[in-house]
Assembly symmetry: C2
Homo-oligomer: 475 residues x 2
């Protein structure tokens, strides 16, 4: 797009094109004085986010000074210290650490997964990452024939006869026709979560899983698996989508193809870690909490920038905006950085238990854990009666959020806040554009550089705007 207003006649028109294009989503309906006041506060929140935000430089430090931070690791310990120290600088009423015992799994030495026993491809390396929680190959190299399946049905049809002693290769891709990529993820991730357990039942010696990504590239995507305690736990790795395509093609032509894998992973005793929490006390309802949060832990590759450094630094900045604005909330506004979302959810469970003990009620818990992309809206989950009340009292004001491209809809939440469901408050999931999320999710590509400053800041502003409406109109 250029500037054809270098010719005046057209110039005027193109200027118009630009401005109209720029504003056609941002015209407000006629407002009551009260709406106008709300609109002004929300505008001020976004102005701060876009001109004075700290979530982006904070994300930089989290990515480069701390780095990735799987539960139980030194990185996770550093992340706890770092985020506590940052929260201590923004003038909150209190900042504290909430102890929680977390699992401690280590990848160990880099995985080695090779194609062997073929003429064409012998010795080529398949880009791979052990799945979180996988057992090792016991200092040996595991090798075997490969059986490719794309459905549980195929697996069951092969049965013990077709599978015993072999390595099962799960190669059902995420469905690219799903417009919301989380739906495509939900339709494929069962292979990663349950593949090892179900193959082991038939005597498989190991599994390869096609990475959970929509793009063809060389990044393996790790993530948690779930073993079945009634059968042997077998080694499991994710291979990149390119590697999966290559292996699949090879198996068509060279039935003798075998794969060897060497994994060095181990699970160590649980480790003491923490949820990191800061809050601004509510003036009217100190025991009624509006929570914003994300998870502080990440997988052990890349920076964990989108997953979920973005959600953490956005949540921290939300509280800072209110402090900067001198806003006195009626309810307690709390930022919670949960530990261990990726491989246990211990932080979220402990947080809910503690809230129960203290008799705190969470009016709404908002989680940002879908990446630092352009905001599209928020999903809400609660009992029907609570949900309806919210849509009458708060969402009634959502025209105030439309200029910012936000839509409030029923359905959607977050993993860390899910244990709060028993409280019968609202649960909300921040819902940014999802198209690129699975290009980075659980990979070495999830780095600081993959996050857009503006998109991250717009997300933080959106979360703060929702918190403001919740605080003002309550339930």
């Amino acid at each position: 797009m250029g500037n054809n207003w270098i010719k005046t006649s057209k110039g005027v028109f193109k200027a118009l094109v630009l401005i109209v294009l720029a504003t056609h989503y941002t015209t407000l309906p006629a407002q009551t004085p009260d709406q106008a006041a709300d609109a002004a506060v929300i505008r001020k929140i976004y102005d701060q986010a876009l001109t004075d935000g700290l979530c982006y430089p904070w994300l930089h430090d989290l990515c480069f000074d701390v780095g990735h931070r799987l539960s139980g690791s030194i990185g996770a310990e550093k992340a706890v210290r770092w985020s506590k120290a940052v929260l201590d600088t923004i003038g909150l009423d209190s900042v504290w650490l909430q102890p929680v015992m977390v699992p401690h799994w280590e990848r160990g030495a880099a995985e080695e997964v090779l194609v062997i026993g073929t003429k064409k491809r012998a010795g080529i390396r398949l880009d791979a990452l052990a799945l979180g929680g996988s057992v090792s190959t016991n200092d040996k190299t595991l090798s075997g024939e490969v059986v490719e399946v794309t459905s549980w049905q195929e697996l069951d049809d092969l049965g013990e006869r077709g599978i015993r002693g072999k390595i099962v290769f799960y190669n059902r891709p995420m469905d690219p026709t799903k417009i919301r990529t989380f739906e495509a993820y939900g339709g494929a991730v069962d292979q990663r979560v349950h593949g090892a357990a179900r193959a082991a039942k038939y005597g498989a010696t190991g599994v390869l899983v096609r990475s959970m990504g929509l793009r063809l590239d060389d990044y393996p995507h790790t993530g948690t698996l779930r073993y079945d305690t009634t059968v042997t736990s077998i080694p499991a790795v994710a291979i990149s989508t390119n590697a999966a395509e290559r292996l699949s093609a090879l198996l068509q032509t060279e039935s003798t193809a075998r794969v060897s894998m060497k994994l060095d992973c181990r699970t160590l005793p649980d480790v003491l870690s923490y949820n990191v929490i800061g809050e601004i006390r509510g003036s009217e309802f100190p025991d009624q909490v509006i929570l914003v949060g994300g998870h502080l832990d990440s997988w052990d590759v890349g920076h964990g920038a989108h997953d979920d450094g973005a959600g953490c630094t956005q949540s921290m900045d939300v509280l800072r905006y209110f402090r900067q604005m001198g806003y006195k909330p009626r309810h307690t506004i709390r930022c919670v950085l949960f530990m261990n979302e990726e491989n246990g959810l211990r932080g979220g469970q402990e947080y809910a238990r503690e809230a129960e003990r203290k008799g705190e009620f969470h009016v709404c818990a908002i989680e940002s854990d879908a990446g630092g992309f352009t905001p599209r809206g928020f999903g809400f989950d609660a009992e029907e009666s609570v949900l309806n009340k919210f849509f009458e009292k708060v969402a009634a004001h959502q025209s105030l959020l439309e200029p910012y491209g936000l839509k409030l809809a029923k359905g959607g939440s977050g993993a860390d806040i899910s244990p709060l469901k028993g409280q019968k408050g609202l649960l909300s999931g921040f819902s940014p554009d999802s198209q690129r999320y699975f290009d980075y999710h659980h990979t070495a590509a999830d780095v600081f550089e993959a996050v857009s400053k503006r998109e991250l800041e717009l997300g933080a502003g959106s979360m703060a705007a929702l918190v403001y409406l919740l605080d003002k109109y309550g339930l």
Copy 2:
């Protein structure tokens, strides 16, 4: 975001979270049979775009085999041949070249812009690109004191006294608080377009313009300027936002700071070039055209991937989808790749003249020239009566587009199609997410790798879906 369904209880819930989150924007309202049929066609269009699309590999070839392609350059010539050859492969009813004479400006040797005459920063290079159309420094090095201004008022207040013999530095940033970035662009680009002419009036010898970008980085953004024929044309360069910040800081402390610049640009005689056009003839209304297009030319840096390789390859793929589907349109569906949008609009003007001569009516002309990002909707421009008719007859069906995140709104169009305004048909601008567009616009960073395959394909699908509704419900 991980998978807390590693614990079955939570597993079920998280699966729910994912799916609900995934679907809460994609539930259709109750439909008539006719709507259901339309919904099925639109779904089929997106399925093709997302599973069988060619816009992404085409964009790859345009970027790597052709490269950037400013009007009059060898690149532009190659782009014409390349796109004609591709259109010839997709079984259209006709493909042709429409001759048009275009300007031919060349950058020549790389710009050299240095800070001189200071202790601290002497000799440091400012990342710069000559503005399109700029005159050279006549094989000499131009140097002078620098006067920084951030408004036309400041310029006028300085006047001849403060400006004669100096280099004017325009340093008004794009406004980051505008949610739609095109609005921020519209509010700053006057410095680039008119800065040289207005400074020359006061006797300036050259101008530096802060790049039109929202991010602080080292990429200068080129783009067109407009000289005033009544005053001398002076050399003009854009400097990166980082360079602008550095220079501005320096000027605070070292008033003796000077800048030297050497530009090698020249304007050559006009060159014969072409709009590249392909169409599927309409069965009922062959002389009534639904146009999809973008501009084939680009600036002479990077790949011109978002601006506007994306719009070109999307438009080409739209016609291919209909052919693949065996769809017989009632109106003629035409893809137009316009030449010379960036520095003249000659292609758009010639196209409109020719359409006039042939007595063709354009029901709607849709331009994609805002980048290959996630689709948000379309803007429409026309006479009030036409616009209202459209919103009654076609936009009435926009609930069919909501599952794909699309919104149809009044206002917005495109530069190349603007000369068709006289025809009293509809003009439409495809409106993708705008947050990252000005990270790439007119820079060396606008490369193939900056485009997401899915986002590009979703845009092409969205354009085809709109064309389908226009073809079915007409005006």
